[in-house]
Amino acid sequence: MTTRMTLLLQGGVPEPAQLLDPDTVVAMARHRRTLQRAAAGASTALTVGAAVLAPSAMSGHHHRPQEPLASLKPSSAPRPSSTASRSAASETVTPSSAISDSPLVDEGPRIMWDARLSNSVVVSEDKLRRFPGLAFAPVVPNFGLAPLRIDVSTDPNSGGTGGLVELHYTFASSPAFPVDGRAIVTEQPVALAPGGLAGLATGSVPASAGTPIEVAGQPSLVHESQGSFSLVTVRGKALIIIAGPAVSRAEVLKLAAEL
């Protein structure tokens, strides 16, 4: 039997200003599971965002993977709370890292940059645009050279429903690519407006989401991990990640500007 106290409490608690996107939650869950599998020693190469993880990492490249999907809650729109309330909230916000039970992310599973997406096929640029099963319009960036390889997978195990695309570029060694000239552009569907990225690095969002920045007028997040930079942005219905084994900040911004 519902008591008066219940009615008073239910009437006194505000409605949430933001709701989570179910698809994003599922994508995050898959992302987390993939990290766990990779760190647990799964023998199959597993895809996480822009990176392909495996316990037997190649080339000795240690890299803490960025976690774009782990932070994609739609928190960009301003909440109706006052400045005072946000100030108060800043004292009580729970860092995700503090309440997460997954130390695996912080352990930094190695990224196997050469591994292929699960059940992927190599396609041409033309075939990519007509590829069935993609829930977004893929972008083929013009970085002054064509991608060396384009991988497409619509296997849900590779990163979620709606497909996953990886475009592999190899640049000449330069100060921008001091160690390795590779850059990999990963594209996958996301239910997040471009403006939503800005909210990822504020409030309760973990620092690993990256630093918000505008590149060519597009909200983006820049993330540094062990000397290599990556960038996350949104174009239409696609989440785009630019990353590589050793990409400088200047280069990742330059590439993003050319998307």
Binding site: T2, Q10, G12, P14, V25, V93, G203
Partner: protein, 172 residues
């Protein structure tokens, strides 16, 4: 990996129940950002086991169990810096109509309770769970729920505006 029907069931659950879960988490954490984090993490943790938990204890009970215990853990660690406030900062709420002051005072008083007492009150009276369901969510005995609820209600009755309010013990 979950099959597609379980994943779809999970999506429907998130869409249908997240509002209630967020409100519960807000009550427990005192902040929308933290509430979103807690609910988000709880859902992410629940997803791989969805088929099993949905068929056994129930998906919502499982998610709620995660939500309830995470804020408690966090609040215990942060207790030295916790500063309960007498007023609700958020402006968008449903505390309107009759008893608006009473509602606000009651919510503020509950939020100022110690973490476990607050969790009991939120689960028992806000979520309207039974004592057994509350105990399951908190991972404690029914006796602990009763004793924590009793202490919580005694604290609430000490609030001037709530002194005359009949804080009923709902049916177990």
């Amino acid at each position: 990996m979950l099959d597609s029907s379980s994943t779809e069931d999970f999506r429907r659950f998130v869409a249908a129940r997240q509002r209630a879960l967020l409100r519960t988490a807000w009550f427990l954490t005192g902040d929308w950002g933290a509430a979103e984090d807690v609910v988000q993490l709880a859902l992410v943790r629940a997803w791989p086991h969805w088929s099993r938990v949905a068929a056994t204890e129930g998906g919502e009970a499982y998610v709620r169990r995660i939500i309830v215990n995470k804020p408690i853990d966090w609040r215990c660690r942060q207790s030295s810096v916790e500063v309960p406030t007498p007023t609700l900062p958020e402006t968008a709420n449903r505390a309107d109509g009759p008893d608006v002051d009473l509602k606000r005072m009651l919510v503020a008083a509950v939020r100022a309770l110690p973490p476990r007492q607050r969790a009991v009150v939120v689960l028992r009276y806000f979520d309207d769970l039974t004592e057994a369901q509350t105990a399951a969510a908190m991972g404690c005995s029914v006796g602990t729920v009763k004793s924590q609820a009793s202490k919580a209600l005694a604290s609430l009755r000490r609030e001037p505006l709530l002194a005359d309010l009949e804080l009923e013990e709902s049916a177990p």
